[in-house]
């Protein structure tokens, strides 16, 4: 499809300048906008008494955790007292404790799983001071940790950086200005942005219609830029006031793709060769730094496969409806918006799960089994670009694993970026890789073993199991989309998904900071003829295979029980 190809080409073009800008910010180098932002930042540094001295990885992790904890506390308080008549023209009541717990965890971890419906569950005050605020800070936190990890891998500094300076710089220099610009662009296309109460109109038939209002565009732009994904309205980006036309649809997709894509470019620039100066010059002329190439190639390839399979599956339609006489030549239109059609819907579904945003422009529960499986697999892999920063961190775990396996095959000590990978790093990496499937599969098993879990399932047959699997994959991958038929606003679902989100987010972050911290302290080994090159085509293919094999081994049985069985039943 032409529109998909053009769209992907635009994506590849925009991440280079953006990646370079991000590199300059992360490495504290000069950028064109410094005169303004330096002043702003300095005021904030002084206000918060931040000294910008570098931190060791433990300090960094601690600073990140406690700052997030304070944010959670304040967010929770606001949700509980949102009933106050302040920015609350629709008189929304307070949120109950367990749902509030789930909601703050969901937004601070960048997941944005929503067990409430925005129209009836949140006041404008909460939408701004909790949701929009946390969308900024959670994405800034994710980016900061990724920056710290990359600094560790690059090992050009003695510390992994300063968390406070990182989170402020990325917010003021990237997220705020971009959100403002994209928000305004969205408003010009029809996304609402006001503080008025909901409007009631009288239709030409004499009936009434309620139209939801609110500060939507402000949330909408950071929702995608920060790969957050939680909608202002229950229907998320399917709702016309969040996503009125195909232009906004593509703006929203590019917004969620630009930063995770740029982080890969930034990674390449940060770790680029520290060899001879002639080599450095050559490097500078290259579009992609060498080490970023295999990472980008594998991510992009997985993304393209996903889009192709999802598009094909949705275009094939629903044979069950064909059977009762509804022509399926248009594809499977249940749950999809007419203005997006099959192509833009399949594209959005793949992108939002690959980049772990979790906003939706069609209902994922209504996707065909294979279309839904693409979304599911993207979240299970959690490294097809992934959320800004976090996806790259996950990919680096697999890179280390691949280096290790290759090292075993050729009988040499594995090295990555001129650092020896030894027992400690391997143990941590293995642990980090295992956490994600462990969370998904054990919580899913728990849910289908308990009546409280089974009670949430709304669709019969294998699809019901997929609903459960999807919910926990989404929670653990910090994606936030859902098979929304699931009745998930109960104690069981609020608590289990809350835990899955929490561990899925922070454990892998801390472990990777530990790996980066330990690599940084190692003495670099000089390149020799026996060194395994990690920037070649062979290495790219091996990396791809390792990812596929690990994912297949862990998730294949669950996928057989869910989407694959459903597909067989449907097409029988």
């Amino acid at each position: 499809m032409l529109q998909i190809l053009i769209f992907l080409a635009v994506f590849v073009v925009i991440i280079f300048p953006m990646g370079k800008y991000m590199y300059h910010i992360t490495a504290s180098q000069h950028t064109f906008a410094d005169p303004i932002f330096d002043r702003v930042d300095n005021v904030i540094y002084r206000l918060c008494s931040i000294d910008r001295k570098g931190m060791q990885w433990k300090q960094y992790a601690m600073a990140m955790l406690t700052t997030n904890a304070i944010m959670v506390l304040i967010g929770y308080l606001i949700l509980r007292i949102q009933t106050v008549p302040f920015f609350n023209p629709n008189s929304i009541g307070g949120m109950e404790p367990v749902l509030s717990f789930n909601t703050v965890i969901s937004f601070i971890t960048n997941t944005d799983l929503q067990h409430y419906s925005g129209e009836s569950g949140l006041s404008y005050l909460s939408q701004m001071l909790v949701i929009t605020f946390m969308m900024f800070t959670s994405s800034a936190t994710g980016f900061s940790v990724a920056a710290a990890v990359i600094r560790g891998f690059a090992a050009k500094t003695k510390t992994v950086g300063n968390f406070y300076a990182d989170i402020i710089r990325i917010t003021t220099r990237v997220f705020l200005p971009l959100s403002l610009a994209i928000g305004l662009l969205l408003v010009s296309q029809g996304v609402v942005q006001n503080l008025s109460p909901n409007t009631t109109v009288q239709t030409i038939e004499g009936k009434y219609q309620d139209l939801s209002m609110g500060p939507v565009a402000a949330l909408e732009s950071i929702k995608h830029l920060g790969t957050n994904g939680g909608g202002f309205f229950g229907a998320n980006s399917t709702a016309p006031f969040e996503n009125p036309n195909v232009l906004t649809n593509m703006i929203e997709m590019l917004s969620m793709m630009i930063l995770p894509g740029s982080v890969v470019v930034m990674f390449g620039l940060m770790v680029r060769s520290r060899g001879k100066s002639s080599e450095k010059d050559m490097e500078r002329k290259r579009l992609f730094s060498r080490e970023a190439k295999p990472v980008f190639a594998v991510m992009f390839f997985l993304l393209v496969i996903g889009i192709a399979v999802c598009f094909w599956a949705e275009q094939a339609g629903n044979p069950a409806l064909q059977q009762v006489g509804l022509n399926q030549s248009m594809g499977s239109m249940e749950g999809k918006e007419m203005r997006f059609g099959i192509a833009q819907s399949a594209l959005f579904t793949t992108v939002t799960t690959a980049f772990t945003t979790g906003s939706i422009n069609n209902m994922h529960d209504t996707l065909t089994p294979i279309g839904g499986m693409v979304a599911l697999v993207n979240m299970m892999l959690n490294l097809v670009f992934g959320g800004k920063g976090v996806g790259l961190i996950n990919m680096l775990m697999y890179v280390i694993l691949t280096v290790f396996i290759c090292g075993l095959m050729v009988g040499r000590t594995p090295e990555y970026l001129a650092k020896k990978i030894e027992g400690r790093e391997m143990k941590l990496t293995a642990l980090a890789i295992i956490i994600h499937p462990l969370l998904i599969l054990s919580f899913s098993a728990l849910a289908i073993a308990l009546p409280a879990g089974l009670a949430g399932i709304s669709n019969p047959g294998p699809h019901g199991f997929t609903q459960v699997l999807y919910e926990f994959s989404s929670a653990s991958a910090n994606n936030g989309s859902g098979f929304e038929g699931l009745g998930d606003n109960t104690y069981f679902w609020n608590i289990t998904t809350g835990l899955a989100m929490f561990f899925g987010r922070y454990l892998s972050m801390i472990i990777m900071l530990a790996v980066a911290g330990s690599l940084m302290l190692k003495r670099p080994v000089s390149e020799s003829i026996g060194t395994l090159k990690t920037d070649t085509g062979t290495f790219t293919i091996v990396l791809f295979m390792v990812i596929i094999i690990i994912a297949a081994l862990t998730f294949f049985p669950a996928l057989i029980l869910g989407p694959i069985t459903e597909h067989m039943v449907l097409w029988n």
Binding site: I70, I167, V191, A235, A320, M338, P462
Partner: protein
């Protein structure tokens, strides 16, 4: 200990500064700019007739009068309701979304089968094989204002009967409210049902009939 307290104070201050900056200043600033430059869009792209807002051009509506074109089925009935429905508790407040029927869910095939019967009863000249899929499937938001041009075309014979308007007039109205693909490449061709019906109402001089 004092170092620890200083650290906590920094973290608390960062939270407050970002809370005010990202949670208050930014959304209010965007509201101000939007209201200044794009007041119509920022307030819901309302369609105003005779001084009354009759709907939004971005949000679909439920129509029961046979002289009007039909929209796609909606799980939330497009948030459209009568006073009785509100008083009787059938309408519980504004929402959005779909019923989330899986492709294998028997409720989905049941709903579609019933809708096919209903549609062919109102449009007797149409073969059920010719009904485009979008017309009888519900959208994700339940608020989709659009149908495909084919779905509009197959409703025209019945509309000719019920409105007494000529085929040309109706086809012209549909054509006028058909949106092409963006740059001829992106998205789909769509017909805005609300705008079509507003125009039908205008031609039939129905508008204003219910104005209070």
């Amino acid at each position: 200990m004092s170092a620890f307290l200083k650290e906590i104070k920094t973290q608390f201050m960062i939270t407050i500064v970002l809370l005010l900056l990202c949670g208050l200043v930014y959304p209010l600033l965007l509201t101000g700019i939007s209201q200044l430059f794009f007041p119509s869009q920022a307030n819901g792209s309302l369609i105003v007739e005779n001084g009354h807002a009759v709907g939004s051009e971005l949000i679909g509506q439920d129509f029961s009068d046979h002289r009007f074109m039909k929209n796609r089925p909606s799980a939330v009935n497009y948030n459209t309701y009568t006073q009785e429905e509100k008083d009787g508790g059938d309408y519980t407040g504004v929402s959005s979304g779909s019923k989330n029927f899986a492709p294998t869910n028997p409720d989905l095939t049941e709903r579609v089968t019933a809708d096919i019967m209903k549609f062919t009863a109102v449009n007797p000249t149409i073969n059920k094989e010719d009904i485009p899929a979008d017309l009888l499937t519900s959208s994700g938001s339940g608020l989709d204002p659009h149908i495909s041009p084919k779905s509009a075309a197959i409703q025209i014979p019945a509309l000719v009967q019920s409105t007494g308007l000529s085929r040309e007039i109706l086809e012209n109205i549909v054509k006028k409210n058909t949106q092409n693909k963006l740059l001829g490449i992106f998205g789909e061709e769509t017909v805005n049902v609300l705008k079509v019906n507003l125009e039908i109402a205008k031609v039939l001089r129905l508008s204003g009939q219910h104005a209070d």
